[in-house]
Structures are given as C-alpha cells and as structure tokens.
Subunit: 458 residues, 2 copies
Amino acid sequence: VEHKRVVELRNLLESQAWHQLRHALAEQHPADVAELLGHMGGEGEAVIFRLLGRHRGEVFAYLGPQHQRRLLQETEPRLLARIIGQMTSDDRTRILEELPPPVAHALLGRLPPSEMKRGLVLLGYPENTAGRYMNPDYVALRPDMTVAQALAHIRQVGRRADTLNVVYVVEKDGRLVEDVHLGSLVLADPGAQVTDVVDPGLVSLLDETPREEVLRFFEKYDRVALPVTDKDGHMLGIITVDDVLDVAEEEATKDIHMMGGVEALDAPYVQVDLLSMIRKRAGWLSALFLGEMLTASAMGYYEAEIARAVVLALFVPLIISSGGNSGSQAASLVIRALALNELTLKDWMRVFRRELLSGVALGTALGAIGFGRIVIWQGLHFTDYGPHYLSVALTVWFSLIGVVSFGTLAGSMLPFLLRSLGFDPATSSAPFVATLVDVTGLVIYFQVAALLLRGLIL
Amino acid sequence: VEHKRVVELRNLLESQAWHQLRHALAEQHPADVAELLGHMGGEGEAVIFRLLGRHRGEVFAYLGPQHQRRLLQETEPRLLARIIGQMTSDDRTRILEELPPPVAHALLGRLPPSEMKRGLVLLGYPENTAGRYMNPDYVALRPDMTVAQALAHIRQVGRRADTLNVVYVVEKDGRLVEDVHLGSLVLADPGAQVTDVVDPGLVSLLDETPREEVLRFFEKYDRVALPVTDKDGHMLGIITVDDVLDVAEEEATKDIHMMGGVEALDAPYVQVDLLSMIRKRAGWLSALFLGEMLTASAMGYYEAEIARAVVLALFVPLIISSGGNSGSQAASLVIRALALNELTLKDWMRVFRRELLSGVALGTALGAIGFGRIVIWQGLHFTDYGPHYLSVALTVWFSLIGVVSFGTLAGSMLPFLLRSLGFDPATSSAPFVATLVDVTGLVIYFQVAALLLRGLIL
C-alpha cells in the first residue's frame, strides 16, 4: 500500500502537478506523509515539504530523529523557524533539546515573544522529567462556571489546546482543582456547576516526576492525559498518552538493548551508520572481554590440575555456561520486575531467598542430567572418562549446584545493587552477569574437583 | 502515601464504620482501591468489595491477574455475575478468556441476553486479535446528522459508551465512514454536517489484526482510540489507547523474559509461586543445558590436543564467551528492530552484510586485545605460555575474528529465520545464541589451533 502511494506522489511530483500534489498530501494522515518522505529520498523531499503548508510542523514531528536532524541542517533558517512555529509546544521541545544550544536559541528567537519565553521555560526543566515534556496548551475552566459557560469557553479557546478530551478546573491563583472529561461536560446538565461534574480521584504529576514514573502513572490510572503541577499545586501543563506510548517503547528498547549488552542506540537500527554501530558495540564488548580475561587467569591458576586430569577441561564450557544461563534468567526477571515497580529495593531479601531456593533446585536438576550424561556415555562406551568417572560425574553435579545457585543469586541481586547505587538495573545485562559468573564458576568447579578428586586423579 | 491510606481504611474497617468506609472508598480512583485491596490481605477484602457498590466491576478490572483468579474462585456466583455485569465489555472479555469455558459460559448465562450474546461474539474472535479485545460500546452518528443533532444524540446514548473522546460516523448498513473527535464537534458550527467536521486521514483496524500490529498503529498515528471493522468496512467496535499501553508493556516484558532465556511469566514476579517459577525456568534451562552438552562432546573430540597443549584449554572460556557476547548484542538489536517494524524480513541481506562487517571489525579488535594480553603477560613473566607463545597468541587472535563474526551473524540471522518460520524472533534469546555459538566457537578455535600450531606444540 505504502509503495503505491509513493509511486503516485512521485508521478505527481515528476509531472509537476503541484496543485494535485498539494491536494493529495492534505488528505493523508501526517504520520503517513512522514513515512512517505522517509521513502522518497532527498530530491522530492524539499518540494513536498514546501507544499505541505500549515501541516508541515505536524509532519516534521512524525519524522524519525535522524531524518529530523538532517532536515534541520539542510533547511534555511526562515523556513525552519516557520516549521518550528507550527509545532505543538511539546514536539518543539523534543526537537530543540537535540540541537546545540546556540542553534536552539537562534530558532527560539525567531518565534513570537510569548512562544519564545514558553520554549525557554520548558527547556529549563531537567531532561526526562514531566516538566520538560508537558504541553502548556490546555483549556482551563474556573470553579464557578456552569457547564454551559464552560462549553462556551471551550468553543472560544479550544482551537489552541493540545487536547480537548480533558479540560481542567483551575483556581484564580492557578491551583489545579479537578480535571473533567469533555464527554462528562457534554453529558451534564448545562445549568450544573463544573465542580459538580468532576470525575472522581484527581491524579496529577509533579513537574519533576521522572519519565519512567510518568509512564507508571498512565499505566495505573488508564488516563488519556494527566495534568502537571508544581509543588504547590499550580497547574503548569498536560502530558498526553500518545507521547507516553512512545516513552514506553523507548524505555523497553533501552532495556532490551542493555540486556543484550549493547549501549542503547538513539535511532532505529537501519538509520545508524556502520561506524557508530561498531563503536557503540565495541565499548561494552571490550569491557566484557577484559572481564573474561580473568577466566584465562583462573584457568592458568588450575593449569597443573588440568594437565594431570584433562577430563576436567572437557566440562568447563558446560559448567560456566549453565551459571551464565541461570544468571541471565534471574537478571531478566528481576530487571523487568524492578522496571514495572512490581519489586522495590526493600524486596531484596525476599527475592534473595526465592532465588537461592530456585538456584539450588535448578542446579540439582541440571547436575542430575549432567551426572546421567557422564555415566550413560561411559556405560555405552561413547567416551572413556577413566576409572574414576563416577567421581568426575559427582564433581560435575555438585559444581552445577554451586554454579547455578551463584549464577541465580548474582543475576537477581546485581539489579538491586545497581538500583540502590543509583544506576539503571538493566545495566546488569545478561553478558555482564555471565562474565562475573564465568570466573566464579571456574573457581567453584576446580575447588569441588580438588575436594572430590584429590588422591584419585588429582 | 499508600501505607497511610491502608491504615486509615483498616481503622475504619476495624471500628466497623461502614458508612464512612463506603464514603472513603467512593472518593478513591478505582486503580488506587485495587492497589489497597492488594495490600489488605484476605480478611477485610470481602467486606470492602461489598461496600464498593457499583464501582466493584471497575475496581475488579484493575486488580492483578492472580488476585482476580483467586476472587473468581472464592466469590459466590451471584455476586460474581453482578461484578462481571458492571464491567466494560473489553475488561469482561479479558476476565472470561482466562476462565475454563464452562465457568465462563455459566457466568455469561447470568447476564442479560443482549450482553451474553455480545460476550460470546467477542470470545469468538481468535486470541490476541483486535476483535477479541475491542469494545462494542461506541457512539455511532449518521452521515446526514448536523453537529447539533450529533451532540443531542451523544447526550442521549453517551453514558453507555467506553469513550466519548472519539465518535464514529456510520452508514445505515453499518459501514464506517469517518471518526470525529468530540472536541472537533464541540468546536464546530452547530448547523454544519458531521461529515464536514471529520479529522483528515481515517485509520481503522481489521478485526483480525494481531495485537502487536494494533500497538504499531497506535504508535504511528498517535490516536486515543481506533475503530475496528470487518473486511467489508462494517464497524464492529473500538480499541482505546489505555488498553494498548498495557499491551505495549506486556509485549516488552515477554520479549525481555525471552531475551533472558526464560518462558514469559503470566503474572508479576512476586505473585508467581516458587514451584511454578522453578518449573517455568527449568524448561529452558534444561534445553540449553542439553545443547551445551555438545560442548563436552566437542571438547572430548579435541581431548588429545588439549592433553598435548594444555595452554589451549586456558583460553576456551574467553573465546566462547566472546562469541556469545557478540551474538547476544546482535540478537538484541535485531529482535527489537523486528518487533518495532524498523526491519522486515526482506532486509535480511542488508543486515547480513552489516553484521558481517561489524563482526570482523569487532573480532579483530578483541583479538588484538587478546594478543596483547598474552604477549605482555609473557613478557612480564606473569605466566609462561611456553616457547611458542606468539603462535598461541596468533591462534587466539584469528579464532576471535572467526568466533565473533560467527556469533554476530548467528545472533542477527536467527531472529530473521525464526520470524520467517512463523515463530517469535525473541525466541532466539541471548542464551540460545550463546549455546549455539559455544559449540561452533570450540570447533573454530581448535581448527585454527590445528592450522597454526601443528608441528609446534600439537
């Protein structure tokens, strides 16, 4: 479908049918026009952008971050200021914060004074807080208005608002009293007071609420918009759910990338050039490699044992990978539960107990499988693990109990530790836990071997 | 804050101040009451539930899945039917689909006939499709209505609708014409026709649209509600964004759990009992363990080489973990990009080329670090890798190029393969890729060793 639309637009473009092209563009949803622009490539882009007229700002806001960045560099300042001027306050903030401050200020300087001031206020809030991403264009009602007066007021000022789905009852001094769904107003008796129409349970955000917390509020309360106030309850702006849906996806992407041991990309996979991609991955990969070098040291420490009993070396990958796998299971469960506020820091002891029990149970089960594998292979003469194969099999079993338990505990406790130190729990990614557990796993394995095999083959 | 509210409610409960308790409950947002119930424990729960009156259904819908399941078992059928009757159609479907079919049908049988029929229709759609989760309670307008008539109609029928934020212009035969924001109607000239008020770019979902796709539509078009139609364009119901936000979080949780190599839990971490938790984890862990047993076979195959050159064993964990780490990086990037539709199946060749280049570059870099480590440790007499330490170091370098490239390719191509076979790409979790790469990594390492060290120490 999209391809057909691109072809149609390209035809209109090539036949220079400006009028028809302008008409075709106006009928599309801005998100679709943005997607089309992404497919078009440079040539027609500038023309289409000019033909978009007052929809330009909206379409621009739907473009991908890399695309926006390129256009910001290529477009002449006067047109750029016009585009920025057509955007909603929150979309505008999201663009301006990506620019070098002098460029952002130059662009703001081309806006009407009131808009400029407002842009500066929003950019003044710390990154990733409700204040930074709110939209100050909401409809405010006074508590003494009747429903009929309220609807008349909405008709008067509503066009400038980001949303009309929810309107806000605000005192003269700016303090937020209640929020009201437009639907509730329409259904209410026109003579009633707006304060009698309010939906129960006002929920509001503080300007300094971090964006993960904003996401949790929307999830919990199922609202389409939430008001933002300062500490004294003065209404500052609103945040709408469509922006929060994007936040949810970005947070999940960040966590999934971290879980895989890679620095979060700030753009879609295909839009990141090869060199930045390699650079983003080399950092973590090298750090993990440096950590893993300790395994070479650990193995070196046990070199004499390995030389005496080569059979021990055969199970090294099996043992350490089991620790890594159980650790990455635990880490992914706990990281996600912390992200969703299902767990808080004070739950760590409870999780510790659960994970210890799980680890011992899982390690015992895997150990039994490993024990069986060695005994059966020996019995069927697939491999010869020597006269003391039973002790070797027991070594593997006991080691697995230790390694899997340690892996499970490391994977579940590291996210708590990181959060309590103020870091993102997702930093304790699976590869990071695996690296930690690999080194410890080797020590556990060779210590168990020393205990069980001393005098036999060691 | 929550704790204080729980104490207050408990006090009211213990002093049997029913009237005040009922009043206190009515003032809370249903999501908060649900959270309070979660903290209260069994004793007061039943009493509070009875005092909730007509808010019961709403509060019930906000409870966690395990809590709901318990209440469904404990509550007497008559009260249960009343609770189910108070819920919105989409919330009700979500409860009923979790119940054994006979129980669900018995509950539906206690509803008014029209509601029962409607419940059966919704449950008739396949799981995880738009049809199953839509709400048939929307406001329909006729194309020939004026704005004033439309608003009058909304006042008449609006109370039953799931949302009034968007209303729908529907032909007499049920075909959807346009959607209109209530805000646009309120702002419009009362004498205008509703078809002149429509917001540009109607977007609608088919009843069979899978829920991941529904999520992408909401993300792309920034809507608060989307209409669902059949193939012929007949309007069936609506899906609202608050439900989609939950879908976004569930999908991300599923992917994050799979990335960690654990079957997705169907309830929050703390609500899953220990035994189910262990069972959920044992499955994948055992499967991975069985896969990893191949490393013991591979190591066994090279046992003679290890016995002759124990130094080779020292680097086994380092080499195979590097392959696993690079694989899990690639997997997490590609799995997420596929989930977000940033990549589609036809991009596989492009990704293959990128990842091959990345893999070779990253492997060369890691190999250089490994080479340096061996040469420096030897030079500083930290360890003695023997007279042919340079060849050993080169073996490690070249092996890392091979292993990291293979890991990167396996991690990036497996998600494509899984999707093309109709599986969830996230199944190619980091531990799964690591297991695959561990076995292959050993073969690559020992083959490179055979090439470079034959005649020297092998």
